[in-house]
């Protein structure tokens, strides 16, 4: 059984949903506190699949994910880079996505550790265009040409909630979006109910290119703002009382569990 490490930083709060999702997807999840990794009580490299769940790590006090990214970079950098370079799957959701971007692991174009430092940062996740935290359900299209191991082979769009105030994906230079697309690094985009690219509120935060999730060039690290772990059972669908279903986020976790074997 794939051992899944659900990394809990101070302020993480969607770790239990992620653990439940991994369990339903056939994995063996364990919620591990960052302090347990730092003290050596647990070793990242003993696990096959790493999930950075949502929440407000360190209160998001200096920008979402900033301090968590710093902790990853300064204290866990070595192990994390080995984990990624081994090709083991890493999934960052919401705050976890923000941390992966700010730690330089996403989009990870140059692959170097310096990418984590500010000067090398290629993109960021910043305040929503609406200037507000927003919680709403969104449709996500798996991009057909993506190299991402989590979204490859997804049958159709996902239907999952977002809940964030800083999910606006902004590249340092606009051509980055095209470059990411060309390399297959755009994994998920916001679309409307009919599957077409659309503006607010289908794109809830104003992200460039309707980007909802991106992966690293190798495809084993995925970050996304929406919450696939909050739609793993049919009764979580907002309109199940109307007989509607589908768009479960569970396959994302199943792919991670599969790849982490």
């Amino acid at each position: 059984m794939t051992r899944v490490l659900i990394l809990h930083a101070p302020g993480t709060n969607r770790d239990r949903e992620a653990a439940l999702a991994c369990a339903l997807a056939g994995g063996g999840p364990e919620v591990v506190h960052l302090n347990q990794l730092l003290s050596g009580e647990r070793n990242l490299l003993d696990y096959g699949f790493l999930v950075l769940p949502g929440g407000f790590s360190y209160g998001d006090d200096l920008g979402a994910g900033t301090l968590w990214a710093l902790a990853l970079r300064e204290r866990l950098g070595e192990a994390l880079h080995r984990f990624v370079e081994d090709g083991r799957p890493v999934l960052g959701i919401c705050n976890g996505f923000q941390a992966l971007v700010k730690a330089g692991l996403l989009p990870g174009l140059d692959g170097g550790r310096e990418a984590g430092e500010a000067a090398g940062r290629q993109a960021t996740l910043t305040r929503n265009r609406s200037a507000r935290f927003e919680c709403r359900w969104v449709y996500l299209r798996p991009e057909p040409g993506s190299v991402c191991l989590f979204t490859r082979g997804l049958p159709g769009p996902l239907y999952v909630p977002v809940a964030h105030g800083e999910g606006n994906f902004v590249p340092r230079e606009l051509p980055l979006i095209e470059e990411l697309r060309a390399r297959g690094q755009i994994a998920l985009t916001y679309v409307d109910a009919e599957g077409r690219p659309a503006g607010y509120p289908d794109n809830p935060n104003g992200s460039a290119g309707n980007v909802a999730g991106i992966c690293n060039p190798a495809g084993n690290v995925l970050g996304l703002m929406p919450h696939p772990e909050d739609h793993i059972l049919p009764h979580q669908h907002p309109r199940w009382t109307r007989g509607e279903s589908g768009g479960l986020g569970l396959p994302i976790f199943a792919s991670g569990v599969q790849a982490g074997r």
Partner: protein, 978 residues
């Protein structure tokens, strides 16, 4: 060395906060602002150099993609920079001693980056305002939008935050010469020290110390004032009440009531004696069974006074406080609720009473405070209401509720002699002194200036860590009792936990935010995010280890005794030594006078000719009734993945659900993993609420009944079993010293008893917030409308039974359940037609039978949609069902079961009679549905239509209303016409 770092948007990047600010300035009536820019300020101090500051700014403080930074070394005051003409700079920072969570994170981040020399940090904001603005206007913008001088300060130009002043008092512990004091001197003492104790109470304290042969210390006096405060001990609800009821001048009822709580609220719970109630009125929260393995706890608090002064911080710590109540029963919080009452948001500034914040500002601050705490703790905010009334302008109401879940049998609540007193979580500062006594005082035009210390900002992340540490300690069995440090601080927490055994506390052991606190300040401080645990000596090491792992500070500060004495020491000095029996039982019982004059409604006569369609559109746009989507979406209502019926429902996820349904799974991880079959089938929880303050001025009995009826209807409408509903009562009232206010309270409490018994729904917890009055300093007084919030917690035997209010399929039949009476008093119809008098909705005796029959129909799967009828009556409910389901409805008023005098279309459409529902039934299920409802007022009044119009046939047989659903939706959502 001291530095200042300024971070702003990079060229070409948007500044959403600045754009929002410009719009808000326009709402002040100031037209000249053409642009606003926002910046974050950081002040850094310590053994750091230019390189270190450059490094911190680059790596930590500014986002390299969308922001730019600059910094300057500070030698004395920051330098003024020349601004172009027409530009104003406003800078804001916190006052010393106010929690600055960002600064704490900054210090932690600097340590991670290896910048160890940084010893102090503070944050602030800088605003650049451009346009045609006078200096006076800029001051007004600063005071109205940018800065709240209760917790912040501002300058038109560079600001420099002061470091926390270490106050050195000459006095350490004061002895108060109480024994020799005259009654007048006792009264003055109570007033000057903000004790909020009356003459009889001060005299009781005087007698106690006379017998002891000494005068009290300030620590002892403060401890007594806190323990005996209205907030902590509910004197009014326990008082003996002499009640007189008049009809005109004739005395029709006279009685002596042995306490409202005992005679009405608890009496209802005791008489109902539901076997599934595990704990009512004794612990931090009420507790009921969910199933054989799990229990559910629920508590609702108010945080009105702090929210009036500092809306963000008041609501923020209100949420934090009620969440700690749930942690205090060893449960994991799974949902928050928030019910808010504000003054009208379009109130002219000229009409604002002195010293009062504008309702719009209170509204936005309160919502932001709730959002911040709930979202950051990862607790979904799933239920609530927002109402507006001029009576709430000076006294806004902020009700914060929290629901928790726990495995049965793990919560422990009896400290034993020898157990250690352990305080965990946040540090203690001079924040929140006198909160318990302040909450019982009347607000005045200068309260903000004198009671600033009672208002605080929370730190939800600290509380999240405390939560995780407590639950781990619970599962390891490391404590024998736990309670939160709320109003009254350590004094209240230790005093309660040690009630039966006594305790010794060493104040010098309490971790402080800064030095210089006097013993009574440490003891009474209401600093946030603290819990107190009773820990057997053999578990202390393990508990400290658990806390360390969660980055939670934990300190042993004392020991529980066996002699029922409360001994507080600072080092070797005894600063308080009180008998627990006197502390908890020495309070003289209050005697209060209550007078009630029965409402004799004027006959409003026939209604003026009115177009029902036009009236419906106006009601849908009324702030009380209109969509609250803009607020609901700011609350994370999905976190924990349990929200299976969401606050917003329907075809476009935007219709007004009656109640939320929760299926907690992830909250139980890892034990709950086995509870997650994909086909549902488990019991689920429904959360609803009811309040009807509009009826309160005229008929508080009817008001309370209507609130209970609505709270029950809400959860029944989504599928809860009427025989498994628990209620919470939260009274917000004016001064109980005024006999007519007290009379209204008696009326409402009596309705609580009668309605709870009629429905068989026990109360499991309740709170009261009294003295919600405002004195303008010139003898004028404004009291709030008597407001009772009823929160309901229902159980669905099977989550698959859940029903939503949006109509589902064309061709289905619509049934109205319940009787419509000529009850228009204080209705929205009367408000819009400017009519007075008329009967307010009275209890419907058929309500309980209707709820049970409707539930039986739901259990048989006969109900496709169900919506309760409340504000705006049948017309509004039908419009909401149509717009949520995006389908047409055709209704025929001739079929509506009605009272004899309900003989007008407007009455049938807009009366707000209790105990009514609108139900959608499939044609094939109609015979079965009719059979289940047999003998009860219930009739088919129409059907769901493909053509998306709401069409109503009147009593005359003619069409009286025909509106496109699109128009209803626009009115209700406040969208401009396309």
């Amino acid at each position: 060395m001291r530095y200042r770092v300024i971070v702003g948007s990079a060229p070409g990047q948007t500044d959403p906060r600045g754009a929002g600010l410009c719009a808000e300035i326009a709402t002040l009536g100031i037209e000249g602002a053409s642009e606003a820019q926002t910046f974050d300020l950081y002040f850094l101090e310590g053994d750091i150099d230019d390189d270190a500051v450059e490094y911190l700014a680059r790596e930590l403080l500014a986002d390299p993609v969308v922001q730019r930074y600059r910094w300057e070394r500070l030698n004395g005051a920051p330098r003024e920079e020349p601004l172009e003409a027409g530009t104003w700079a406003v800078e804001v920072c916190l006052l010393p001693g106010v929690t600055d969570a960002v600064a704490e994170s900054l210090l932690a981040g600097a340590r991670l980056l290896g910048v160890g020399g940084l010893t102090w940090a503070a944050t602030g904001q800088r605003y650049l305002l451009r346009g045609r603005l006078s200096e006076a206007e800029v001051h007004r913008i600063a005071r109205s939008l940018l800065c709240n001088e209760v917790i912040q300060q501002y300058r038109l130009g560079p600001i420099l935050p002061a470091r926390t002043a270490v106050r050195r008092d000459d006095v350490w512990v004061e002895r108060i010469p109480l024994r020799a004091a005259s009654p007048e001197e006792l009264a003055r003492l109570s007033r000057e020290r903000l004790l909020s104790l009356d003459g009889a109470e001060m005299a009781a304290i005087q007698r106690y110390f006379a017998a002891a042969g000494r005068d009290p210390t300030d620590v002892e006096l403060e401890t007594l004032a806190q323990t005996w405060s209205e907030h902590c001990v509910h004197k009014t609800f326990k008082a003996v009440v002499d009640y007189e009821e008049y009809e005109g001048d004739r005395l029709v009822r006279q009685e002596r009531i042995d306490g409202l709580l005992r005679s009405f609220i608890r009496a209802a719970t005791e008489r109902i004696a539901a076997p599934w109630v595990r704990s009512a009125f004794v612990d931090n929260a009420g507790i009921i069974d969910l199933d054989e393995n799990l229990e559910v706890s629920f508590k609702v608090e108010t945080h009105n006074h702090p929210s009036a002064l500092e809306p963000f911080g008041g609501a923020n710590t209100g949420v934090g406080g009620v969440v700690r109540d749930i942690i205090g029963v060893s449960a994991r919080p799974i949902a928050n609720t928030d019910v808010l009452c504000f003054g009208p948001t379009d109130l002219p500034f000229a009409a604002l009473p002195a010293g009062v914040l504008h309702p719009r500002r209170v509204y936005s601050g309160v919502v932001a405070g709730i959002e911040d705490y709930g979202n950051k703790m990862g607790i979904p905010t799933v239920n609530g209401a927002i109402l507006f009334h001029p009576g709430y302008t000076a006294n806004p109401l902020v009700y914060c509720g929290c629901l928790g879940i726990a495995p049965k049998g793990r919560h422990r609540k009896q400290a034993r002699p020898g157990d250690r007193v352990v305080v965990i979580g946040g540090r203690t500062g001079r924040d929140g002194l006198h909160g318990a006594t302040f909450s019982s005082a009347e607000l005045t035009h200068e309260t903000g200036a004198v009671a600033g210390g009672a208002v605080q900002i929370g730190n939800p992340i600290t509380e999240k860590l405390v939560l995780e540490a407590v639950l781990e300690a619970r599962d390891r069995g490391l404590y024998t009792a736990i309670t939160d440090c709320g109003a009254g601080g350590l004094s209240s927490a230790v005093g309660e936990m040690g009630r039966e055994v006594g305790a010794t506390v060493q104040l010098e052991q309490v971790p402080l935010k800064y030095q210089g606190l006097r013993p009574w300040e440490i003891w009474l401080s209401e600093a946030q995010e603290r819990m107190v645990l009773a820990v057997p000596p053999e578990h202390v090491e393990e508990l400290l280890e658990v806390c360390r792992r969660w980055d939670v500070e934990a300190t042993v500060i004392g020991t529980f005794r066996s002699d029922r004495r409360l001994v507080v020491r600072y080092g070797s000095e005894v600063v308080a030594d009180l008998d627990m029996e006197f502390l908890h039982e020495g309070l003289p019982r209050r005697e209060l006078r209550a007078v009630w004059r029965r409402d004799v409604p004027a006959d409003p006569g026939r209604l003026p000719p009115t177009d029902p369609g036009e009236l419906l559109l106006r009601l849908l746009a009324d702030p009380d009734i209109a969509s609250k989507e803009s607020v609901i979406r700011r609350y994370d209502h999905e976190v924990q993945g349990a929200t299976v019926v969401k606050p917003l429902v329907g075809r476009r996820n935007d219709g007004p659900g009656d109640a939320t349904v929760l299926l907690p799974l992830a909250a139980l991880w890892p034990e709950g993993a086995a509870r997650a079959p994909s086909d549902g089938g488990q019991p689920a929880l429904a959360l609803g609420c009811g309040l009807a303050p509009r009826f309160g001025m005229r008929d508080p009995y009817a008001m309370a009944w209507a609130a209970i009826d609505e709270a029950i209807r809400n959860v029944v409408a989504v599928g809860a079993d009427p025989d498994r509903i628990a209620l919470l009562d939260n009274f917000c009232w004016g001064s109980p010293q005024r006999p007519e206010q007290m009379g209204a309270l008696v009326q409402a409490a009596r309705a609580c008893y009668d309605a709870a018994l009629a429905y068989g729904t026990p109360f499991i917890s309740g709170k009261d917030s009294l003295n919600n009055e405002y004195g303008d300093g010139a003898g004028g007084r404004i009291a709030i409308p008597p407001t009772l919030l009823i929160s309901s917690l229902g159980l669905l035997p099977d989550v698959r039974l859940a029903v939503t209010m949006d109509v589902k399929e064309c061709g289905n039949a619509l049934y109205i359940v319940g009787l419509t009476r000529h009850e228009l008093g204080e209705s929205y119809l009367q408000r819009y037609l400017k009519l007075e008098g008329g009967r307010v909705p009275q209890p419907s005796p058929e309500g309980p039978a209707l709820a049970r029959a409707l539930h039986a129909a739901m259990r048989r799967g006969l109900v496709r949609a169900c919506h309760d009828l409340s504000e705006g009556g049948l017309a509004v409910a039908a419009a909401e069902m149509a717009l949520a389901g995006e389908a047409g409805l055709h209704l025929d008023l001739r079929q509506v079961p009605r009272g004899d005098d309900a003989d007008e279309d407007l009455v049938l459409l807009f009366a707000e009679s209790n105990a009514r529902y609108l139900v959608e039934v499939r044609p094939g299920d109609e015979p079965a549905f009719v059979e289940v409802m047999a003998g009860l007022p219930c009739a088919r009044i129409g059907q769901v239509e493909r053509i998306p119009h709401l069409v109503v046939t009147g009593l005359s047989g003619r069409e009286v209303l025909n509106l496109p659903v699109r128009s209803l939706r626009r009115a209700w959502k406040g969208e401009a016409k396309a």
